[in-house]
Structure formats: structure tokens, C-alpha cells
């Protein structure tokens, strides 16, 4: 017997997101018409700009890497019944950890620098996530509120550090000196060069593979380990968790630490890979978009990867769109992205009743 409004899995996973996406694009088209531009052309530029040539694809994947990390972060917390809004702050603080290693331990051999930077990024992010988790578990402070507040704390702290402590004197902007070549992640261009493949220059780097590995590990952890099982029980039914001898408080802290660590890995892509220096506000909203990515990806690692790809394409294609078409400004592109987040995220249940009526078969009728 199927409960009211519940859909077959394939509808939930494929048809519903596609319907939402189509509607979002249709509305975006209307917006484009309203500003006096040709929506078909805009669409073509967008798609072309996102996946039309190797360089575009590389940029799309580079953005997608960020979204995989922040999307996974939201998804893990969500499985434990927590809404982690703090990916932004966790990634920002993680950037500090990565930068400290890359700035001050760059005399070590590369593998060691890499591992230490990875550990520092994950560790700093985990700590920034675990504190709100602990506050929730032991003091009952709501995680949504505390993680938002922690975003602000992170921003203030980092601004201070970058403008007073870590500032590279020769620079006008609040950023550190460039990392030495031995303390950065190799770019995709370099790596493909090793096996003799010619690739365009882009910020896409080793972190892309880390993202895929992270997605796989998250899947294994959540679905196939007893810790992941305990985490899901806590997320679904805290009473049942107590009954089963699982400590919900501990599970919450652990889930938030993992979530923060995943968000923190974004700093590897941005700081150690793309920018190769720590700079102010490098997270630029990726942490928040991770919420939409997780929502659209149904909190499943594969879904998160696909959604991240979509958002990566939108970022890259959108940038191209703003560049190519005079009538469409950078802000317009943000409106279009906002519509997609709106329909795939906030309004994601809008089509559900209609689809339920269409596809749910009456049983025993």
C-alpha cells in the first residue's frame, strides 16, 4: 500500500526534477523576453558557454567540484536530521587551515604538504561544524541559528586575519602571498599533460577527483556502515535511536563534524587549487548553493554529483551569458539561477500532487 502522495522512485528522482527544471527555464525565458532579448539565443549561449568547448567544460567541472563538496556537506547533516546552513563558514575557516599549511609548511615534500593541507582543511571545517553540533546536542541551541551565526563569526574572523595578520604587505587586497609551486594542487592541464593529453588552461584541479572520492565514501558511510546507520536512525527517529542504544547527541556532533569537513574540502579546490593563495570571501556563496544542490540531489551522493554538475554548468554558462549578451547583466544571470533554485529547491513539491494523481495506481480497487 502506498501512502498518499508518495511516488514511484523513478518519478521522484528523474521526472520531478526535470519538470521543475523545465519550468524554471521557461520562466527564465520569459524574463529574458521581458528585458528584450531572444530567449532561444540566450539558451544557446548558456549551453554553449557551459559545455560547448573543452575550456567551458573544464570551468563547469571546476565549479561543480565546489558544489559536490558543499552539497555533500548538507546531505550528510540532513541524514542526521540536521539542517546545516553553515557550509559557507565551515569552508571559509577551512581555507585558513589549508593556507596555514601551504604558507608555513611548504618546505615539506609535496605528498606531505598535500596530506597535511587535506587534514587541516577537513579538521578546521569539522571543528567549525562540530561546535554548533555540540551546542545543539547538549544545550538545545537550534542548529540553523547557530550555523548562521557561525558564518558571521567566520567571516569577521577571516576578514580580521586577512587584513591584519596574514596580509601580504605588497598587496592592496586582503589576501596572503601566493603559495610556492610545491604547495599547490596540480591543475587538470598539468595532470593531463603527464599522460600526454593536451588540455586548455583552467582552474580545474586535483580536487575534482577528491570530490568524486568524497561522494563515493559518503555513500558507503551513510548506507553501508553501522555509524551511518546510527546517524540515519537519529535523523529519522531520535526515540528509536535511544531505544537502540545509540547516543543521539554524539551522532549529532559526529554528523556535523563530517558535514563541516566536507564543506571544508571546498577550500582545497579554491585555495590550494584555483587561487593558490588565501583571499577574502573566496567561498562566494558556494556553501549556500550547496543546500539547493543537496535538495535537488535528494541527499543522495549520486544525485548531489548530478545537481552539482547542473549548477556548475549554470555558473559557467551564466558567466558566459553575461559576457556575450549585452542585455543580460550578471544580475540577470543570478535571477535565472535563483529561479532554478526556487523551483528545484523551495517549490520542489509543487508538481508532486499532480504527478501523484497521474502515476499512482489505485491498488485493490
Amino acid at each position: 500500500m502506498r501512502a498518499k502522495g508518495e511516488l514511484p522512485a523513478w518519478i521522484d528522482v528523474v521526472v520531478l526534477p526535470l519538470a521543475n527544471l523545465t519550468l524554471a527555464f521557461a520562466l527564465s525565458g520569459l524574463v529574458v523576453i521581458a528585458v528584450g532579448e531572444d530567449p532561444v539565443k540566450a539558451m544557446r549561449v548558456l549551453v554553449q558557454g557551459a559545455i560547448g568547448h573543452p575550456e567551458a567544460i573544464a570551468f563547469t567541472l571546476y565549479y561543480a567540484t565546489n558544489f559536490v563538496f558543499t552539497g555533500l556537506a548538507v546531505a550528510v547533516a540532513f541524514h542526521a536530521g540536521l539542517f546545516n546552513i553553515g557550509g559557507e563558514g565551515q569552508a571559509y575557516i577551512a581555507g585558513l587551515g589549508v593556507a596555514l599549511v601551504c604558507l608555513y609548511l611548504d618546505f615539506l615534500p609535496w605528498p606531505l604538504v598535500f596530506l597535511l593541507a587535506l587534514a587541516a582543511g577537513m579538521g578546521f571545517g569539522a571543528a567549525w561544524g562540530a561546535v554548533p553540533g555540540w551546542l545543539q546536542a547538549r544545550r538545545g541551541s537550534h542548529i540553523v541559528i547557530t550555523t548562521i551565526m557561525f558564518n558571521f563569526i567566520a567571516a569577521a574572523l577571516m576578514t580580521y586575519l586577512l587584513s591584519h595578520v596574514l596580509l601580504d604587505p605588497g598587496h592592496g587586497a586582503p589576501e596572503t602571498r601566493r603559495f610556492l609551486p610545491g604547495a599547490t594542487l596540480p591543475s587538470m592541464q598539468t595532470m593531463l599533460g603527464w599522460i600526454g593529453v593536451d588540455a586548455p588552461r583552467s582552474p580545474l584541479n586535483l580536487a575534482f577527483f577528491l570530490a568524486l572520492i568524497a561522494a563515493f565514501l559518503v555513500h558507503v558511510y551513510i548506507r553501508h556502515t553501522r555509524w551511518g546507520y546510527a546517524l540515519r536512525v537519529v535523523g529519522q527517529n531520535e526515540q528509536a535511536a535511544r531505544y537502540a542504544g545509540i547516543d543521539p547527541g554524539r551522532a549529532i556532533v559526529v554528523a556535523m563534524a563530517i558535514s563541516g569537513a566536507l564543506a571544508g574540502m571546498m577550500a582545497l579546490n579554491e585555495i590550494m587549487g584555483a587561487h593558490q593563495r588565501l583571499l577574502a570571501a573566496f567561498t562566494s556563496g558556494f556553501g549556500f548553493v550547496g543546500i539547493a544542490v543537496a535538495l535537488m540531489g535528494r541527499n543522495h551522493p549520486v544525485g548531489v554529483c548530478l545537481a552539482a554538475l547542473l549548477f556548475g554548468a549554470l555558473y559557467q554558462g551564466g558567466a558566459e551569458l553575461a559576457f556575450e549578451m549585452r542585455g543580460i547583466s550578471r544580475e540577470m544571470v543570478i535571477v535565472i539561477q535563483g529561479l532554478i533554485i526556487l523551483f528545484c529547491g523551495a517549490l520542489e513539491n509543487m508538481f508532486r500532487p499532480a504527478l501523484a494523481a497521474l502515476f499512482a495506481k489505485p491498488e485493490r480497487a
Binding site: 500500500m1 502506498r2 501512502a3 498518499k4 502522495g5 558507503v220 548506507r223 553501508h224 556502515t225 553501522r226 551511518g228 546507520y229 546510527a230 540515519r232 536512525v233 529519522q236 527517529n237 526515540q239 528509536a240 535511544r242 531505544y243 537502540a244 542504544g245 545509540i246 547516543d247 543521539p248 547527541g249 554524539r250 501523484a356 499512482a360 495506481k361 489505485p362 491498488e363 485493490r364 480497487a365
Partner: protein, 507 residues
């Protein structure tokens, strides 16, 4: 002959894919008590929801006193003279009785006049029907029986001539239930009409004039109560013959397994729910805890399972004191020492409705070495365990991947019970094992509990169904207000005596 007080014709109702009512025709004679029985999900509540305006039927019509009425909302039902007393009371806890009755019938923007009128009217009604209740008491200070009287007063005040009662005795002692039934009889004699929804066949036979049996959304039979019996009604409800009382030999109690000494337990508001409880359970016996719900049984069960901190006393298991409960690890330690626990509320505690059955089937045992595969939790082994369990406990459908919440109540309970019994516990703590479980599954579950006892295990049974306690327990302890007020051996137990003890009147 008078037109029937209520006539339903061809009522049909779907909830999405679920066909909850299938062209139901029902005629309730004026001045009668009409019972409706059926298993969970048979469509009783949906039907009453249609009559009271919570649901609108897809098809069909309703007549009150021979006149067609359109009922789209509860207000329409009230206007037509229909009143309803819900299983879960619809009262504002921190309002007084008077304010609750007035709610929705204020009679104007200013309360003073309506209040004065209501007070006079309610005093008259209370006198006439012997429904004594303090009009100025707050609901939260009233006993459940009194709260129910408020619900009835509410319906009367709104001029109900047809009163629908949904499982009214679930929260009452047998004596309180008897009083309620006297009231209903008085009412009938005054020419009013009662529709009584219940799953307790004993009550149907005791109080109704006519009884309608529902199964799978349709009416399968209507009988004159005088011309039917429990067995026939049970068979009509389930669709096959069922044993209402499982055969059970006498107990052979062995060594003492559990001893509780002076246990004191407080709830979240620091109110004492257990006030010094002492008893023992031996291997090979079922000890039943009888009592009206809310008298400390839940706290007792949770404290024994290690889920609730204790404020005093101690718990000895196989002669050793168990570590103080409350710490999250304590539930795990209890399991490790072969104490199994079937919680009172399986949805709230015993299972995870969103998980597939095989994941519910390992809840609490997910750390078992047997289920591990290196660092991973083996899905294949969990599924295999669930498969085995489903076979042994006749769970239908036997599909380990089906969501736990999609099984019927009886099958969910079989999964939970199976999970706990499967680990071969020395002590089974079991609360409300057949709440929300259909009759066919009740028989099965009872058999399993007796079987466990016969294997020499200790069973502590908490149930608000006195029938269940009488059917299963070898010794019966009665709790009232956090204390054990009496102990009787099963052979000497009778319902009246235990009922008096449940009400706190010394036997």
C-alpha cells in the same frame, strides 16, 4: 415506523490509491445504540469522518431523520444534531471546562452573556445525566474520565441528538466504562441515538442494540446484538475463524530473573510517576502489569529497559544490580545481557518507519558482529536475518525491502517482536503487544509470548487491555498512580476485582 436517525447511502471514499469506504449503506434506528466494529483500517473512522464533516465522500448521501443533509464541515454536522466524542480529546488543556464547552459556541462577541447561559444549561445537563464535573476546573487538572465527560457535555450543549463515540473506553477503567454505558443507555431511552465505534467485542455485546461489522472499507454484516456472539463477530471482522484466547498450560516458574526494589521514577516535569515499586519476575512465567494507561507503566518499562533515569530504588537482574539507567549506553548493555524490549509505541520507538524492513529488523542489534563485514554493515546479512524472521513470524508481505511504515500494524508488530525474540532473550519486556494490531495477528503474537514462557524465559507484560492480561499473565500486578496496589494469581483473577484495583479502590 419512524425514519432512521441516520441513513447513509452509497458512501464511497478514496484517499489517493486507498479505497477507504466502498459504497457503504448504513441505517441507524432512532433511539438505539448502534455499534460499528472492524479491524484497524477497516474504514470505521473514515466513515465517521464523513458523517461528521471531516471528509467529503466521493459519492453517496446522508439523511438525518429522513431529511437529506449536506455535510461539508463539522459545523454542518453539529447543525444537523450530530455530536462526536473523539478518541483523542479535542480540548484546550489550559482552558476551564466552561471555556472549552463555550469554544465555537460563544453566542456573540462578548463572552459574559454566553458564559452565564452556558453555565445554567450545563448545570442542568450535568444534573439530568449525572455527568458531574467542576465547570471551573482546568482541563489539565482533570482525570481522563472527567475529560471525556467534558467532551460529552460539549456535544450535548450543542444539541446533539446523534452522538458518535470513537473508542471511548480506551482510557477508562472497567468501572468508568460501565458508568459511561449506563449514561448511553439512559440516553437511548430518551429517544436519542448513539453510534459506538470500538474494537472491543465485549463492549459491543454489553451495550449495543445492533452491530455493524466493517472489513476493508465495506460493510460485511449487520446483526441484532442479541442474536450474535463474540466468535461470530470476530470471524466477520477477520474473514476467518480465530481463537480469541490462546491455549496455555500452567506456568513452571524457575529462578528469579528480575527483581525490582522500591523503584522511584520521575517524568520530564519532575512529577513522580513511579512511587516505590517492588516486584519480581521468575524464569518461565508471564507477569502482567494491569492498569489504566498513564499510571506509571510506561515509565516502569522504560526504566527497566535502561531508557529512563531512576530517582530511587534498584533493579536486580539475575542477582546483579544493573547500572543506573538513563545513559545512552545502558540500553545497549541491557541487550547485551539478553534483556529484550518490545516498546509500547512501536512507531515512536520500536521501528523507523522510513527505513526498509531489513533495517528496522536490526534496530538495536546493528553492532552485532554477525552483521558486520569488515568495517561495513552487511546489507546482505541484515536482509537474510530479516528474511528468516519474516518467515518465522509470518510477516506479510515477506519483503525485507518494503518500507517499514507500509506494513499493517500487526505485521509491524510481528517484525518488532520477532526481532526481539529472535535474539533469544532471558527477559522480555513487552508493552502493549497488540495495540493497533488486528485480531488475526493478536492470536499469533499471544502464541509467541506463551511459547517464550514455555521455553523458560521471563516475560513482563504491560497492557492496558485487561482481556490481554487475563489471557496471558500467570500473575497479575495492578498499578495505580505509580504504585502496585494488588497482586493476584491468574487463576483467581477476575475482571471486576482488578478493575476496582485499577481505579485505586482497594480490593
Amino acid at each position: 415506523m419512524d425514519a432512521p436517525a441516520l441513513r447513509l447511502t452509497g458512501i464511497d471514499k478514496h484517499f489517493g490509491p486507498v479505497h477507504a469506504n466502498r459504497s457503504v449503506d448504513l441505517s441507524v434506528a432512532k433511539g438505539s445504540i448502534h455499534g460499528i466494529v472492524g479491524e484497524n483500517g477497516a474504514g470505521k473512522s473514515t466513515l465517521m469522518g464523513v458523517v461528521y464533516g471531516y471528509h467529503t465522500a466521493d459519492q453517496g448521501s446522508i439523511e438525518v431523520d429522513g431529511k437529506p443533509v449536506r455535510i461539508a464541515a463539522p459545523q454542518d454536522a453539529i447543525a444537523a444534531g450530530i455530536g462526536m466524542v473523539h478518541q483523542h480529546f479535542m480540548l484546550v488543556e489550559n482552558f476551564t471546562v466552561l471555556e472549552n464547552v463555550l469554544l465555537g459556541a460563544e453566542g456573540g462577541a462578548l463572552l459574559a452573556k454566553g458564559r452565564a447561559r452556558a453555565r445554567a444549561e450545563l448545570e442542568r445537563l450535568a444534573r439530568e445525566y449525572g455527568l458531574s464535573v467542576d465547570l471551573d476546573a482546568k482541563i489539565e487538572d482533570l482525570h481522563v474520565g472527567a475529560q471525556q465527560r467534558v467532551e460529552i457535555l460539549k456535544a450535548l450543549y450543542r444539541g446533539a441528538r446523534i452522538l458518535i463515540l470513537d473508542e471511548p473506553t480506551a482510557v477508562l477503567t472497567p468501572q468508568e466504562a460501565d458508568k459511561l454505558f449506563e449514561l448511553l443507555a439512559l440516553w437511548r431511552d430518551q429517544g436519542r441515538t448513539v453510534l459506538l465505534i470500538t474494537h472491543k467485542l465485549r463492549e459491543i455485546l454489553a451495550v449495543t442494540d445492533r452491530v455493524t461489522v466493517m472489513r476493508q472499507g465495506a460493510i460485511v454484516a449487520t446483526r441484532e446484538t442479541a442474536a450474535t456472539n463474540r466468535e461470530e463477530l470476530a470471524e466477520l471482522m477477520v474473514g476467518r475463524r480465530v481463537a480469541l484466547r490462546v491455549p496455555k498450560g500452567s506456568a513452571a516458574p524457575g529462578a528469579e530473573i528480575l527483581r525490582v526494589e522500591n523503584l522511584v521514577c520521575a517524568d520530564g516535569r519532575k512529577t513522580e510517576r513511579l512511587r516505590g515499586v517492588s516486584f519480581a519476575v521468575r524464569a518461565g512465567e508471564i507477569v502482567g502489569i494491569a492498569g489504566v494507561s498513564g499510571n506509571g507503566q510506561s515509565e516502569l518499562l522504560e526504566a527497566l529497559a535502561g531508557l529512563r533515569p531512576i530517582a530511587g530504588g534498584r533493579i536486580l537482574y539475575k542477582g546483579e544490580a544493573l547500572p543506573a539507567p538513563g545513559d545512552p549506553a545502558r540500553a545497549k548493555q541491557a541487550r547485551a545481557r539478553a534483556i529484550a524490549h518490545v516498546p509500547e509505541d512501536r512507531h515512536r520507538m520500536g521501528m523507523v518507519v522510513a527505513f526498509p524492513a531489513y533495517e528496522t529488523a536490526i534496530l538495536g542489534y546493528h553492532d552485532d558482529a554477525e552483521l558486520a563485514e569488515g568495517p561495513l554493515l552487511s546489507e546482505a546479512r541484515a536482509t537474510a536475518r530479516c528474511d528468516k524472521l519474516m518467515g518465522q513470524f509470518d510477516v506479510r508481505p515477506a519483503d525485507p525491502r518494503l518500507k517499514s511504515g507500509k506494513f499493517s500494524g500487526g505485521n509491524q508488530q510481528k517484525i518488532v517482536l520477532g526481532r526481539e525474540i529472535d535474539r533469544d532473550p532471558d527477559l522480555l519486556l513487552v508493552g502493549q503487544p497488540t495495540r493497533g494490531v488486528d485480531i488475526g495477528a493478536i492470536e499469533f503474537i499471544h502464541r509467541r509470548l506463551v511459547e517464550l514462557r514455555d521455553r523458560g524465559k521471563a516475560v513482563l507484560l504491560v497492557s492496558c487491555e485487561l482481556d490481554e492480561i487475563l489471557a496471558l499473565a500467570d500473575r497479575i500486578l495492578t498499578v495505580c498512580d505509580g504504585r502496585i496496589v494488588g497482586e493476584v494469581a491468574a487463576a483467581e483473577a477476575d475482571e471486576r476485582r482488578i478493575g476496582l484495583m485499577m481505579a485505586g479502590i482497594a480490593a
